[in-house]
């Protein structure tokens, strides 16, 4: 039995996980200064979709064969994204000379170990790590407020297609990973999950406001990882500079917890075939995505559409939650 607090924490983490290296950069690229309005709208739409989703019984549906296939595919897609993001973060900013295989292999071993320990261990880990994550997010937002220049939010030029795409992407990025959590918990508490979603969305919203307020949309567009570049501007107490390597732990935490939870969902859906599926998945993920930048770029451009399919399927599942 997972407590309501842990459900909130996991929903918080899952709603944020797709933003590092993907969501923030993608949304700013599509809608520039308009991205603040589009993400806000996307989060609100996401809230109502999630409210609707939490009224259904996904736990039982995902115990059916079709449900197992859907959740396995969704979870593998998200684990794959986490592995790519983990590799990119590590190889670009920390372990620049280490081969990719040595970066992702420990990540997969850690995930495998975590999955073996089970959901209670993952929950406990998330409870511990969330304290670090939330403290750093608060610290970052407070540090950035004096550097925000309100002129950077203008001009807001409305482009209908891009606005719709970034709103849709925000909704998809924030809500789809939470479906995994809904499939794992039998009697989930709607309020707790929605609470986690709101705080997760707010944290991303504040980070986006900081990125555009400090860099402006043109400079934010120039960076491949504006969310990491933002951390480079943090100066703690006027003398602690260049803390970005430590502060980026917030993204590591999101990726780790999400990968653990998604892998656990795969294990639950595949039972005794988990080991063989894992090995095949790791090989495919490493050869076709982690080691192939062009394919990773394909995911960058199309993740919102691919996950939208999963979200639509989930919306049309007809099983209702027992009251």
């Amino acid at each position: 039995m997972i407590s309501n607090r842990v459900q909130s924490i996991l929903a918080f983490t899952l709603s944020r996980c797709l933003y590092f290296g993907l969501g923030i950069s993608f949304i700013i690229n599509k809608s520039n200064n308009l991205s603040i309005i589009s993400t806000f709208l996307g989060f609100i739409i996401g809230y109502f979709i999630l409210y609707f989703l939490t009224k259904k019984n996904y736990y039982d549906f995902f115990n059916t064969l079709i449900g197992k296939i859907i959740i396995t595919l969704l979870s593998l897609y998200i684990v794959n994204y986490c592995a790519i993001a983990f590799d990119i973060l590590s190889s670009n900013f920390y372990l620049t000379n280490t081969p990719n295989i040595l970066i992702v292999l420990p990540f997969f071993i850690l995930i495998g170990y975590g999955v073996k320990c089970g959901l209670p261990t993952i929950s406990r880990l998330s409870e511990i790590l969330i304290i670090i994550s939330v403290s750093i997010i608060i610290l970052i937002v407070i540090t950035f407020i004096p550097n925000i220049n309100s002129n950077n939010y203008f001009p807001i030029i409305f482009q209908e297609n891009n606005f719709l795409l970034s709103t849709l992407s925000t909704t998809v990025f924030s809500t789809t990973p939470i479906i995994i959590l809904l499939s794992l918990i039998k009697d989930y508490n709607s309020k707790s999950i929605l609470k986690g979603y709101i705080f997760g969305s707010l944290s991303i919203f504040f980070i986006l406001i900081s990125i555009i307020g400090i860099f402006g949309s043109s400079l934010a567009n120039l960076y491949r990882y504006p969310e990491y570049k933002l951390l480079q501007q943090v100066t703690l107490f006027d003398f602690l500079e260049k803390q970005e390597n430590f502060l980026a732990i917030i993204w590591f935490i999101d990726l780790l917890i999400t990968a653990l939870l998604s892998s656990y969902a795969v294990k639950k859906a595949t039972n005794n075939k988990f080991n063989i599926i894992s090995i095949i998945f790791i090989l495919i993920s490493y050869i076709f995505f982690i080691n192939n930048y062009q394919n990773a770029l394909f995911l960058y451009n199309n993740t919102s559409f691919i996950l939208l399919v999963f979200l639509i399927i989930s919306i049309f599942i007809k099983k209702k939650k027992a009251t």
Partner: protein
């Protein structure tokens, strides 16, 4: 099995593969880029990590240089010339000569993940002269330059390399500090750019006005030998239609008086306020109008204007400027009478 797994994780996750001793890396504190005979000349100022901090005889830094037609080749050559692994994360300043095209060198620096782009750009005439100089106060010249920039409030996030490049990419003008050796390492004035090309240096008088507009404290303002110094100021812009009103509010203290003023009388302060208000008005309007004639905007007025009226963008020379100056002299110092 668990222990073995743990050992593997510890070795791999703690970055042992990338492990480097401090003595094995060359910490580059500043880079200089100049153009000579159509070739890029790159100079690194490297911190000598093996120097004894207490000893005055130890060399605290050394320079490494390389030259090539292509910037990336020049940097590669400079890296090869180093006996250690170059470390670019601690760069404080990038010194360039005025003939270097900033946008040309930016792509390499932006793209290279080893570079932390949070450093300042500065101008100089001779990079060798700057980097070869050894100051008594601060042995590392890049750090000394960084300290000089703080004095004119240039150490703002918006003056970092990335932000200047972004301004140039959007077609706006920038200004860079001009570093010279004048008995000591000194910040002489600032160099102004008309978009990506160097235009000129500010004169001493213009530089003085620029400093107090940029909230530098203790800058004297002189009217017939009487002088005040501004200790706090605000510079705002009010944009309406095609007019921009430059609003400058300053709080000042009396610096030096040559005439007899009754500083016990509150009306005297009003007279002084009006007197210096006219002086500041003349100084600021002349300074900005001269720049406007050259179509150069170092105060960011065009950017603000074009942000508001993005459908009808204008150059600084086409924007009508008005001025609203307020001076409040509220400190007479410790003397109530003129000391003569």
């Amino acid at each position: 099995m668990k222990k073995l797994l743990l050992i593997i994780l510890i070795i791999l996750l703690t970055g042992c593969y990338d492990y480097k001793e401090l003595n094995d890396i060359a910490i580059i504190s500043g880079i200089g880029i100049s153009k000579e005979n159509d070739e890029y000349r790159v100079i690194y100022e490297v911190i000598n990590t093996e120097a004894n901090k207490e000893s005055n005889n130890d060399i605290k830094k050394y320079n490494v240089e390389a030259q090539d037609k292509n910037l990336s080749n020049a940097i590669s050559k400079a890296n090869e010339a180093l006996a250690k692994q170059p470390y670019f994360e601690q760069i404080k300043v990038l010194l360039i000569t005025k003939d270097v095209n900033i946008l040309d060198i930016s792509d390499y620096i932006f793209r290279n993940e080893k570079f932390n782009t949070s450093f300042y750009l500065a101008l100089c005439d001779d990079i060798d002269e700057i980097f070869d100089y050894t100051s008594v106060n601060e042995p590392n010249n890049s750090i000394a330059i960084n300290n000089l920039l703080k004095k004119i409030n240039y150490d703002k996030i918006t003056n970092l390399f990335d932000f200047n490049v972004d301004n140039l990419m959007q077609g706006y003008d920038i200004y860079l500090p001009y570093i010279v050796i004048d008995k000591e390492l000194a910040l002489k004035t600032i160099g102004i750019f008309d978009n990506n090309s160097f235009k000129r240096y500010l004169t001493n008088e213009e530089y003085r006005i620029f400093k107090y507009l940029n909230k530098v404290k203790e800058v004297p303002i002189i009217n017939n030998n009487d002088s005040i110094k501004i200790y706090s100021s605000k510079l705002n812009y009010d944009i309406k239609d095609s007019n921009v009103t430059i609003k400058y509010d300053a709080k000042a203290s009396i610096n030096y008086l040559t005439k007899q003023y009754n500083l016990r009388n509150q009306n005297t302060y009003q007279d002084l306020n009006n007197l210096f208000k006219d002086t500041i008005y003349n100084e600021i309007s002349t300074f900005i109008n001269n720049l406007q004639k050259d179509n150069i905007d170092i105060l960011g007025i065009t950017k603000l204007y074009n942000t508001k009226y993005y459908k009808n963008k204008l150059d600084i020379k086409d924007i009508k400027l008005d001025y609203e100056i307020n001076v409040d002299i509220d400190k007479a110092g410790t003397a109530f009478k003129e000391v003569k």
